[in-house]
Symmetry: C2
Subunit: 189 residues, 2 copies
């Protein structure tokens, strides 16, 4: 495409680098931003950079947080004897949206997937074992996607947790096999 | 959605304000940016603000430009006797991509549409008449979308151009009626 402006070209290339956004959509978004007041575009840009700069990950559960301990880990109203192990941040959001789970979380940061080159050492498993070793933890709920990779990860972690005094459970398989957890709605979960 | 971080929430809201991007997609984009190096996110943000800050519109044809006169109007290799009237910047890009048109452009900034409240005074018509009054212009090609609104605009502008010594033509109607010009490819145009 002949964009007749270097600035527009840079912005289109930046927007097209986002997942699922091609050149034509990027151009549409760039022209939309071009029609916005300069102040609003500045706010748009700063909200993105501020997010990248200031978001931290909870040192305990690896969930995103505005400080080094997340609100869920810090809360006095959560059940500190239960840990729900999930693949990513979006799974925490999906479960929190149901308002039915009152325990803590542990974000693995992925699941074991030899095809994508993700092994156990790439995940937050060591810190999970540390937490499970503490006396107060009674139950670890494995809430991973019901796929082959998810089941492999559950099996691997369950074996490691055998030597600790915790009950390992999985979420009820009401979610269709092969479906990603983050797309499940409140009723399914 | 419970996002557990004000920074993430701001970024998601900013991304969701773009056309065609909902909350779930915005969250996906925000988490993608979160996984990028801080430097890359900074470049992303600055390319958008730089675009908004520095892009100018050509004072002659209202096309986007890096200075107050666009490269097409300034070029010595263009046919200065022909003006192609288009609705928006994307139409200029579409026609330029064919490399077959050698004349100048005039960007109206929309078409007459009573439903959307766009009247003749909201468009760059006065400056088109000024240009048509100049001696060197021999032909004005109306390359508007083949819709009712496009035809109305062509009729309105053609009437105004009658008093000037210019030939008014329209592009051949090979484009399907109701289709937007910016989606037409090189072959159709």
């Amino acid at each position: 495409m002949n964009l007749s402006s270097k600035y527009l070209e840079d912005a289109v290339n930046a927007l097209a680098s986002l997942p699922g956004i091609g050149k034509k959509t990027a151009l549409r978004l760039a022209l939309h931003l071009l029609n916005q007041p300069e102040e609003k575009v500045g706010e748009f840009a700063s909200s993105v950079t501020q997010m990248r700069k200031n978001i931290q990950f909870c040192k305990t559960c690896h969930n995103i947080s505005d400080s080094d301990k997340c609100l869920i880990c810090e809360s006095n109203r959560r059940d500190k004897s239960t840990i729900c192990v999930v693949e990513g941040i979006r799974d925490v959001m999906a479960i929190e949206d149901t308002s039915h789970y009152r325990g803590l979380y542990h974000v693995l940061g992925g699941i074991i997937s030899p095809i994508e080159g993700i092994g156990p050492n790439d995940l937050n498993i060591a810190s999970l074992l540390e937490r499970a070793a503490a006396d107060n933890i009674k139950e670890v709920i494995m809430a991973l996607s019901p796929t082959i990779e998810g089941d492999t990860t559950i099996f691997y972690i369950s074996k490691l947790l055998q030597k600790y005094n915790v009950k390992v459970t999985t979420i009820a398989r009401g979610v269709a096999f092969g479906g990603g957890l983050q797309y499940a709605d409140e009723v399914i979960l």
